[in-house]
Structures are given as structure tokens and as C-alpha cells.
């Protein structure tokens, strides 16, 4: 079977969906690998790195023409779709719930499409879960970005020229990204606090040595390990509990999401106005509308001396690692779906069922 790797076309995207190491693993399993020219350059993989392990470097058109499976990280766009042929299998993050047009376009091409973001969060799917692997890096990079943007340093330092107090970091949302943000800020010596709507995250926060700010949760906000939308009452209680820390914070990282919905607003403009001069907010939920009222995606907004940075680009900026992990997820996924180089189409099986959005032009999930 032939796997085609497309160069990402989205602006600012530096990742690639396959790394040389994983490409080699595919080849040793009997797959053929086609890489679009310069696809890996921004992740510091040269064309020669791929060539050396036996993959073919090809022009875009050739990759589309030759491949059985087409791989991308970001959703296929109109330009891509023009080149897709009947029967090809497309794999990427499709966000099918919000991208109905795209799904219909794929179906109209009589192609098949798997969406990686639809991966069920069950134990055995963990090694195929790109959300986890990418959010993890996002959490790390968000803190590095914050440290870079701040005019203060993180650690406590008692020096001959006086004492530098440790920076205070506040993390909203203790999911995958939030935990890694906590861990990274902690490592750098900051005083870290965090809050989340799911009460089990208290112990997790503390397991990283940080402090958890508990907000009374009336039990209705969490569901099967995921957050539901918070009630108004909860939002008020959260503000009351967190404000003191927020107004003293030097860095705030927000990661709160509700699957399939707009991200909740956790920091209003009014709150931003009461924050410390020089504070920085990194809003990792910006692509889902943002956790901070004033944040704009991929923009830095300065309000009352507070820098609000709306971003999702965090994993892109650690493209090498991000691509490696993404590639490994993809590899595990494709190996799971196939047997001896042929798709099994076991539609009873949970992972296949949940991720298979379009099969041979028929839309299975909406």
C-alpha cells in the first residue's frame, strides 16, 4: 500500500505528518512512502533524510496520483480536494462536526476519510490519540512562550542585588495541556496554581506539586471524564475563588475546552483590567473562541499593560517533536486499521467506527 505525505499548507504550520524514523517503520512493514517535496523542512527534516531511509520524494501532483492513503495534519482544503481521486483514503484532523462542507466535498469525490480528532479516548487508543500528543507539547510551549514574553523571571532568587520573588502562574483547565503547563512552570521555579471544573483534577494538580483552587462543583458539570458546559452559578463561584490569584498572577495559561463546543469564557475583560501591569495571558483555547474575552487568535492584544496572546500554534513551534509524535500516532493508527497491508474495515470495532467519517462516498458520522 502506498502512503502519501502532503506538505501542510496552512499559514504558520511547521509540522509534517510523518518523520523519517516512522517512515522507515512503514517501509519495513511493506508500505511504500511518498513525500511531497520539502514537506519536512520546517520540522528540520531534509528531503535527503527521507530519501536515505527509502522514501520517495515527489512533486505534489505525483503524491496525489500515486497514493492509496493521503496523510495531512490539518483538514484537507479545496485545493487538496481537487486532486483527490475516487477510492483514496484521507487521514487528518477533520473536525467533522464543524466542517460539514468539507465532509460533503470528500463524499462527493467518492473517497474515504478518517478523522483523527474523533479518536475515542479509551485506554487502547491512547497511542493513536493526536489530541493528547499535541496538547501535551502545547502545554509546554505555552509556558516557554509566557516566560519569553514576560519582563520577569520565574524562579525565586536571593542575590546580592536583592531578592527576586518567584513568578505566580495560574493555569485554567487541568487537561493534558494544562498538566504539562503546570509541570513546566513548576520546573522553572514558579509558584503555580490551577483550577478545573472536574474535581478529580485536584489530586492530579497536587501530584505535580502545584496548588489547586477548588470551586464548589455541584456535580452537574462533569461527564464521563470530560467537562460539560459550566452553569452560570459555577462561573460566578469560579471567579470568586480564582480572582485573588488572577490579580496577582504574572502568567496565566488557559486551556479549558468543552469537546465539540465553543470554549468557555473564564476571564472577562473586566477581570483583565484588574490584573497586574506586565502580566501575560496565554490563551491556548483561542481557536475555539478563547477562554479570555479579549484574546484574538494568533494575535497579541495589550490591555491595561496585560499581554493577551491567543494561540494554538504552540505545538507548531516545537515542530520537530510534534511531527515525531504525530507520525507515531498515525503509524499506530494505520497499523491498527490494516492487516498485512490491507484495510480490515472492521466497522464493529470502536476505534474504526468512531474515526471513519466517510466510507466510499457515504457519510457515516455527522
Amino acid at each position: 500500500m502506498k502512503i502519501g505525505i502532503l506538505k501542510e499548507t496552512r499559514k504558520g504550520e511547521k509540522r509534517v505528518s510523518l518523520s523519517p524514523i516512522i517512515a522507515k517503520q512503514f517501509i519495513s512493514k511493506g508500505f511504500e512512502v511518498f513525500i511531497e517535496e520539502d514537506a519536512g523542512l520546517n520540522s528540520s527534516y531534509k528531503n535527503s533524510d527521507f530519501k536515505n531511509i527509502g522514501a520517495a520524494i515527489e512533486k505534489r501532483g505525483v503524491v496525489f496520483k500515486e497514493s492509496d492513503i493521503l496523510l495531512k495534519i490539518n483538514p484537507f482544503d479545496e485545493d487538496d480536494l481537487k486532486l483527490v481521486n475516487k477510492g483514496q483514503v484521507l487521514i487528518s484532523q477533520l473536525y467533522h462536526k464543524s466542517n460539514t462542507k468539507l465532509i460533503e466535498a470528500i463524499a462527493s469525490k467518492n473517497a474515504t476519510a478518517f478523522s483523527l480528532d474523533a479518536m475515542p479516548r479509551i485506554s487502547r487508543a491512547q497511542d493513536m490519540d493526536v489530541l493528547s500528543s499535541q496538547n501535551n507539547l502545547a502545554g509546554y510551549k505555552a509556558v516557554i512562550l509566557g516566560a519569553y514574553e514576560m519582563t520577569k523571571i520565574f524562579p525565586l532568587m536571593m542575590t546580592a542585588a536583592g531578592t527576586i520573588t518567584p513568578s505566580k502562574v495560574l493555569v485554567y483547565g487541568v487537561g493534558v495541556a494544562g498538566l504539562q503547563a503546570i509541570a513546566t512552570a513548576k520546573r522553572l521555579g514558579a509558584v503555580v496554581e490551577a483550577t478545573d471544573i472536574r474535581s478529580e483534577t485536584k489530586e492530579q494538580t497536587e501530584s505535580l506539586g502545584a496548588k489547586f483552587i477548588s470551586v464548589k462543583n455541584e456535580g452537574e458539570e462533569s461527564q464521563g471524564g470530560y467537562a460539560k458546559e459550566a452553569s452560570d452559578g459555577y462561573a460566578e463561584r469560579q471567579k470568586a475563588a480564582v480572582n485573588k490569584s488572577l490579580f496577582q498572577a504574572d502568567l496565566v495559561v488557559t486551556t479549558a475546552n468543552i469537546p465539540g463546543r465553543k470554549a468557555p469564557i473564564l476571564i472577562t475583560e473586566d477581570q483583565v483590567l484588574q490584573m497586574k501591569n506586565g502580566a501575560v495571558i496565554i490563551d491556548l483555547a483561542a481557536a475555539q473562541g478563547g477562554n479570555c474575552e479579549v484574546s484574538k487568535l494568533n494575535k497579541t492584544v495589550i490591555k491595561n499593560g496585560v499581554k493577551v496572546i491567543g494561540t494554538t500554534i504552540a505545538p507548531e513551534s516545537v515542530s520537530t517533536n510534534a511531527s515525531e509524535l504525530f507520525a507515531k500516532n498515525i503509524f499506530n493508527f494505520i497499523i491498527h486499521l490494516t492487516k498485512d497491508g490491507v484495510f480490515q474495515w472492521d466497522l464493529e470495532e470502536e476505534i474504526t467506527d468512531e474515526t471513519l467519517i466517510v466510507k466510499d462516498g457515504i457519510i457515516r458520522k455527522k
Binding site: 485506554s123 497511542d127 493528547s132 500528543s133 501535551n136 509541570a183 492530579q204 501530584s207 505535580l208
Partner: protein, 459 residues
């Protein structure tokens, strides 16, 4: 008594003390056992040959035959029996010792009851010997499985105590009246035997070692009493040593099991412990103490530590590093097995162990360590659960089925530290805990590891 025999007995006594002392330290225990055995041999040979009695050859032959038969049988049993059957063997041997004391008493009763003093010693020897004999046999039966159920009469405690008082009353009556009636004596003997049975029957199997230790201590006292009868120092001192050391040991064993002596003996009727270790389908679990674990690790060549979420919750990363350093310092080869999803975030264990400066080179990924477990003496699982759950391999209905796990079952011993039998993230039972190679070291990871480190330092 001749000078020589006096000196021999003195030497034997000294070997007993030294032997017991050395038995208390792992490094010297073997030597201690040999020293005491040597002293015992000396005392036996001395007793047989050094005296100024006119003894007919036939008696010598009989003694020789008895010693030869007993030695050979004892040796064979001891060498042949499986390692796991040793505790019950100790119980059996102990019973024999008690029986021997009883028999001596019976013979002496027929010959030498001149005064209250002698009567008292003989009678108490017979009763105590009887209790140990029957009690030990019951304990033996319980341990080797032939006596399975815990048998309790209604109001067992009350009956027990009344019975015991009755036997004592009878003994006192006999001694004080001076009516040394053999029938009464056999009555007492039977009384002792019955009480031994009554005493041990209701006690649960897990408490047997404590009971054996207690009975063992009683045998020592029986020997000492016989020593008073013969004014024989080695018996007296040796017996008392065993008696007092045995009591202390019994108490120590109770402590190690988190029980009191009274709760073992009388409490057998009350509820079982908090941490229930029995599961209808999976069987029962084995508890380990910190010092069990410490000894196991101290004498291992390869140890693998499996950290999990509980390590992070307990914030025990510094202690585990200390443990690793101590073991390494003792020449043990230590590695950490890092499961890719241990903890609650990717790289959770890495963050944790980097904080305590664990060397990157001894953190081993799952795929690389799995083949290595065959070769591992002890695996210490600290606050991990799902990542070592064999259900991932065996149980297609399990939510973690298909997830790769750390194959710790392949190691020679597995010690699991967690606070309770509670499940982990996936919320499922873990049959690893019921594996015969597994022992559970219950407690918060930080506290338990600190204790473990303490024990290892003292070795």
C-alpha cells in the same frame, strides 16, 4: 557432675546465647545457627558419655539407636521438604519437643516424686509439654491444609478459659495434697493435650506463625522446668532463653502484622482487617512488611522499579531516588520501567523523576524493559496499577484490553506498594495482586518507601 561436663554445658549455654544473637542479623544468621547447633551437639555427646553411672551396654545401644533414628528422620524431612512447607515443619518439630518433655515427666513421675518441688516441676512439665504437643500438631495441620476450617465452639473463649482453670486446679490439688495418683496424672496429661487443641483450633490460618512462635516459647519453658528437676544448667538456661526470646519474638511478629497478641489469641472471633485481601474469584493476597521487602531487595541482583500515578500523588520521587541510590550502593542493578501512560499526563514520570535527579540512563521504556523482566529478581511497583494489569493481555472484555503493559509477572518476586486494594484510573480489579509471586506493601508511597529505605540502611 564432672568438671568436664560442667564446662561443656557452660560452653553450650554460651553458644546458645551467641547463636541467638547472630540469628538476629541477616549477615550472621547462618553462622549463628551453626554455632548453636555445635553447642547442642556438644551438650548431647557430653550427656551421653560423661557421667559416673554404671550403664549397661544395652542402654547405650538404645540411646544410640534413638539418636540415630531421630537424626536421620529429622534430617531427611528437613532436607526434602519444599521451601514453602517450612513453617509447618517447624510446628511439627516443636510438637515433638513438647512431647519429649511430657514423656520425661511421665517417667520421672513414676520414679522420683519426693517433694512438692519435684512434683510441681514434673506436673507443670507434663501439662506444658502436652499443650505444646497437641497445639503444635493442630497448627501443623492447619498450615499444611489438612485442617482447613476454623472450628469454633459457641462461647469458645469462655470454655477455653474454664477448661484451663480446671486443669490448673486439678494440678494444684494433686500437688498440695501430695496424692501422686497416676490416674490423676494421666488426667492432667489429657487435660493439657485437650487444652492445646482447644487453644489453637479457633485461630485463623494467617495467624498461625504467631501461634507457633508462642508454642515454641512454651516448649522452651517446659525444657527449663525439666532442667530444674535435674538441676541441669544447660537445660535451664537454654530453655529460659528460648522461652523469653520466644515471647519477645511472638510480640514482634504480632506487631509486624499490625495485630496484638490478645487479638490473635482471643480476637479470632472478631471482624477481619480493614484491607480485605480476598476476592472470590482471584484468591487471596499476601502482605509484605517493609523489612521483608528490604531483605528481598538487599539480596537481589536486579531490581526494577515501576513508578505510577501513586508515586506522584504521594510526592515520593525523592525517596524513591534515595532507595535506588542505596540499592545501587549495595551493588544491586536498579532500573526504572517507564510505561508510556503511567501517571496522568504524557511524561508524568519523567517530570517526577527528573526532579529528584534520577539519571536518564536508568529510565527504560516499556518495549526495552519487557524482555528484561525474566531476569529480574524483584519488581517494586509503586503506586501503579493499570499499567501492570495483566487483564490487558488476558481479558478481552476489559476496558484496557489491547493496551501494552509492563510484564512484571515474569519477574521472580513482585512487591506492590499502594494504599489499599482500590482500583486505578480504569477502575478495574488487578489480578496481579493475587499472583502467588506478588506481595502487597500497603501504605502511602512516601511513608512506605521511607520505611523501606530505613530498613535497607540498617542492613
Amino acid at each position: 557432675m564432672s568438671v568436664l561436663l560442667s564446662v561443656i554445658y557452660l560452653i553450650a549455654t554460651v553458644t546458645f546465647v551467641l547463636g541467638l544473637n547472630k540469628l538476629g542479623h541477616p549477615e550472621t544468621a547462618k553462622k549463628g545457627n551453626l554455632i548453636a547447633a555445635f553447642g547442642m551437639g556438644l551438650a548431647i555427646i557430653g550427656t551421653v558419655f560423661i557421667h559416673d553411672l554404671e550403664v549397661p551396654t544395652i542402654i547405650y545401644v538404645l540411646i544410640g539407636a534413638a539418636i540415630a533414628i531421630g537424626s536421620i528422620i529429622g534430617w531427611l524431612i528437613a532436607v526434602k521438604v519444599e521451601m514453602t512447607k517450612m513453617p509447618e515443619l517447624v510446628s511439627l518439630f516443636n510438637g515433638f519437643g513438647g512431647a519429649s518433655a511430657t514423656l520425661i515427666g511421665l517417667v520421672e513421675f513414676s520414679k522420683n516424686v519426693d517433694n512438692t518441688m519435684q512434683a510441681t516441676t514434673i506436673v507443670s512439665g507434663i501439662i506444658i509439654g502436652g499443650i505444646t504437643f497437641s497445639g503444635s500438631l493442630i497448627a501443623w495441620g492447619k498450615l499444611n491444609g489438612s485442617l482447613k476450617s476454623v472450628i469454633k465452639l459457641p462461647q469458645h473463649n469462655v470454655i477455653n478459659n474454664l477448661f484451663f482453670i480446671a486443669v490448673i486446679a486439678l494440678a494444684i490439688f494433686m500437688i498440695s495434697t501430695g496424692v501422686y495418683n497416676p490416674i490423676l496424672l494421666y488426667g492432667l496429661l489429657i487435660g493439657g493435650l485437650v487444652y492445646g487443641i482447644l487453644f489453637v483450633l479457633p485461630i485463623g490460618g494467617a495467624d498461625m506463625p504467631v501461634v507457633i512462635s508462642l508454642l515454641n516459647s512454651l516448649t522452651g519453658i517446659a525444657a527449663a522446668i525439666t532442667g530444674i528437676l535435674y538441676n541441669n544448667m544447660v537445660m535451664l538456661v537454654g530453655g529460659i532463653l528460648v522461652g523469653s526470646a520466644g515471647i519477645i519474638l511472638t510480640i514482634a511478629m504480632c506487631k509486624a502484622m499490625n495485630r496484638t497478641l490478645t487479638s490473635v489469641i482471643f480476637g479470632s472471633f472478631t471482624a477481619s482487617k480493614d484491607i480485605s485481601g480476598t476476592n472470590k474469584t482471584l484468591g487471596s493476597i499476601k502482605n509484605a512488611t517493609a523489612s521483608d521487602t528490604a531483605i528481598m531487595m538487599n539480596y537481589a541482583s536486579n531490581v526494577v522499579i515501576v513508578p505510577g500515578y501513586g508515586l506522584a500523588v504521594a510526592q515520593a520521587q525523592h525517596v524513591i531516588h534515595e532507595l535506588e541510590e542505596i540499592l545501587t550502593g549495595k551493588g544491586v542493578n536498579v532500573k526504572y520501567a517507564i510505561h508510556p501512560v503511567a501517571g496522568r499526563m504524557p511524561g508524568h514520570m519523567n517530570v517526577l523523576l527528573a526532579e529528584s535527579n534520577v539519571d536518564y540512563s536508568i529510565l527504560v521504556e516499556m518495549e526495552d524493559i519487557n524482555p528484561h523482566f525474566n531476569n529480574t529478581d524483584v519488581v517494586l511497583v509503586v503506586g501503579a496499577n493499570d499499567v501492570v494489569n495483566p487483564a490487558a493481555h488476558n481479558d478481552a472484555s476489559s476496558p484496557i484490553y489491547g493496551m501494552p503493559i509492563l510484564d512484571v509477572e515474569n519477574a521472580k518476586h513482585i512487591v506492590v506498594n499502594k494504599r489499599s486494594m482500590n482500583a486505578g484510573y480504569a477502575g478495574i480489579e488487578n489480578e496481579l495482586f493475587y499472583n502467588s509471586k506478588t506481595s502487597m506493601l500497603f501504605g502511602d508511597a512516601k511513608a512506605a518507601l521511607t520505611e523501606l529505605v530505613g530498613e535497607l540502611k540498617n542492613m
